[in-house]
Amino acid sequence: MLTFNLLVAAALAYVAFLFTIAFIAERRASLGKVAWLRGPLIYTLSLSIYCTAWTFYGAVGFAARSGLEYLTIYLGPTLVMLGWWWFLRKLVRIGRSQRITSIADLISSRFGKSTALGVIVTALCVVGVTPYIALQLQSLTLSFAVFADAGGSEWVAGDLNAVALYAAGGLAVFTILFGTRNLDANERHHGIVLAIAVEAVVKLAALMAVGIFVVWGIAGGVEQTLARIEASDIAHWEQSGGRWVGLTFVAAAAFLCLPRMFHVLVVENDNERHLATASWAFPTYVMLMSLFVVPIAVVGLDLLPEGSNPDLFVLTVPLNQGREGLATLSFLGGFSSATSMVIVATIALATMVSNHIVVPIWLRSRGQGAMMSGDVRAVVLTARRLSIIGVLTLGYVYYRLSGGGAALAAIGLISFVGVAQILPVMMGAIFWRGATRVGAAAGLTTGFAIWAWALFLPSFGEGAILSARVLAEGPWGIGWLRPSALFGFDALDPLLQAALWSMLLNTAVFVVGSLLSFPSPLERLQGAQFVNVFEHSAGAQTWAPNSAQAEDLLIVAQRIIGPTEAQAAFQRAARAQGKAGYLPDVTPEFVQTVERMLAGSVGAATAHAMVSQTLEGAAVSVEDLIAVADEAAQILEYSNKLEAKSAEQERTARALRDANQKLTALSIQKDAFLSQISHELRTPMTSIRSFSEILREGGTDVAAQQRYAGIIQDESIRLTRLLDDLLDLTVLENGQVVLNQQEGSLADLLDRAVDTSGLRSGGIKVIRRPADEAIALSTDLDRLGQVFINLVSNAQKYCDAENPELRIVVRQTPQGPVVDFIDNGSGVPEASQEVIFEKFSRLEDHARAGGAGLGLAICREVMLRLGGEIFYLPGQGGAAFRVVLPKSQAMAAQ
């Protein structure tokens, strides 16, 4: 006899296995080996979270009660997948081009990045899906209870609740661990996708195994099974046409609108081509899932005593036949169905809750908008983790409150009808330019209200929320408002009439509201980009040019997607414009790129709010928008193409313009330098001459002689140093320098630089992290040290903060290890950032500068010779220089 403990052990081992799989997938993904994780097969399998425990266990119960009607739940999604060319292809393309993170984000983004719409859709989804999560917890506890009963121990309610609690807790841990690992710009979770793909295989295998056992093991073959069906209670085709069509439609709508399905279909989609494969592979999967449902139901009705729960036949039939191994497999199948659904549904809901409710509220409460201090990434991740815990807690509480009874079992279809309310707005969003925010909000609210009144609230049972009187006679005795017979129609069953009225009125209000209202410019723009996604390959213009500072945008981006990625993206953009460094010109295209990048992490509405705050109210110019979004878009499209052709010339022109500017600035500075250098040479010369004259005339005492000789010597040293620098630079520039390869460690070199600059003794405070500095170097250490010394003493000289600090940060970047020298002073003004490395440049404040403005020029030449790089790093809250260590040598030494 299979003991109950053994079953628990099997479940735990299975969970450990899933953790391992997810962990390995994350590891491989972090190494960049994602190809096999992102194939069409894994994509198709991940779609199988459509088949929850409700369908795994419940389909058999459904079939036992109402014949073939259960098939509609699978036929709807089959039709959607077969029609991928119509809807899904467009949805996926929009999702990718707009960096959509959830279905709420899609609706919010399409209707002018509206926060309100995001909140409505999020609320609808949370209300609709939470009971569904509760249903999964219930099926988990029931399946445990079946084994406990079979093992001879009778369970009390407390045990069931404990199982539900442990399950919810375990799921929260898994989801937080693998769902909020990083704030990925694309919101993709390799570990979770692979885990649910494995679970998909397990549940299919389990159901097929039970089915094969039932057909060939118990019934004795296909013909005998068919004979059993003919002899059973569900022998006749008595299907109501309305329910067949209605349920197929509801299932199809839910397949598109359920937050978890949208997540795997659109957000996690890596390649549009996968849809083509999934269009036949996913129908195959659900067909196999439903193949043996009727045989299991019929045999279960035959074998098991009257009154046993048909929802659990998948478990009880093998147990009844003494096949404990099979029952365990089937249990794991149900377990997989429940857990994979809960994990993905929770991630999808938590993303929506954190992006559309928590983060906007947090931003607003801070008052300063996007420019506040601190790392927004940490806030977003925390918000998401809390949302995960919140959603699962809500599911558990719902499970406890509903008592886990039959009321919960009916919630599957009710939930489907609830989320299907998003369908009209979603279809309008991607196919109808004229759909507006007002119409969408009105339609969604109407559908939501009717659904809640006619289906959701009555589902709690008589007297729970709506009194028996209201259910029977309508509120205040108004008969046509009775939940089960709205407008006096009681010919249809309650589910169908609620679905019909909510969808009809929802669509009608949405259409009429859109026709009567007027869209904002941003809505029209987004509408054009969504509806014409296949024609608008290039994004349209959004922002008036040159109204934002690139550096401000960089600061915001760094806070949200992290310094490394933000800097890399800005560098790419700058390079595409033909510029060097980290600050591209703030063109409309660039602002849009930044906004989409942020949208991938925090949702379109929040990203838009942050960027517009950064642009300090430089709102979209109405003429710009109308021009693009208007029906004249096609003419513009043509000019866009011309523009693309001239982009190359423009890039060259911009590079030339930049070079010219630099040359002009330099020639001015060169003049200044010549007078400066004459001055620098003349000052020591003058004092040397005067003091030597005094000495020659004699008549001074010994102490004075000593002092004058000292001054002469100091001045000659200063002169020599200046000449040395000039000579050094000339040698470097002419490439005559001989490099002296040495081995050493970065930490030692930095130590030496700090010591030599006399920083230990006081003045500026140096902050370092020795753990990061353990990097072996093989290069000309003296030369590299010279660069470090120069940067450190520069910070000492120029940092104007009250409590000067210098942070020396070693980072690993795709270009190899880099060393950042960041002080907390006022930094280098943007205008000067371009020229500080030029050899005749120096900042305004001559008084405190000791040298002649050659230090950084020498540094750059040295790094060039060593095969590394040095540049100014903007947006760090002070002067910051980045040294990219010589690559090949550093790598070779590792």
């Binding site: 014949g67 068919l226 022998a235 069509v245 009727v294 296949f534």
Partner: protein, 92 residues
């Protein structure tokens, strides 16, 4: 000499086939709806077909649709460039 005009004709034919293939894919869900709703026209109760027969019909139709989708999408070429011009080339 005679081969010269044949070359462009051949290319046009292949892209013409691709466009019709996409049309066929567009028709798939409609075919599916018709096939899967067809049993609703059959008589109900003891006089009509039994659930066993309906089950066999539905699964056959289902397999047929899957096979059709498999055969069609397999021949689909992945040329994004062409998609942009699609509406204009529709009648080609």
């Amino acid at each position: 000499m005679a081969q010269m005009p044949r070359q462009p004709l051949f290319l046009a034919r292949s892209s013409y086939r691709q466009r019709r293939l996409r049309d066929a894919i567009r028709f798939l869900p409609i075919t599916g709806i018709v096939l899967l709703m067809l049993p609703l026209l059959w008589p109900r109760g003891p006089d009509g077909p039994g659930n066993g027969q309906v089950l066999i019909y539905i699964f056959s139709a289902w397999s047929f649709l899957i096979l059709l989708s498999f055969l069609l999408t397999r021949r689909l070429r992945n040329d994004d460039a062409e998609e942009g011009n699609e509406p204009k080339a529709e009648d080609g």
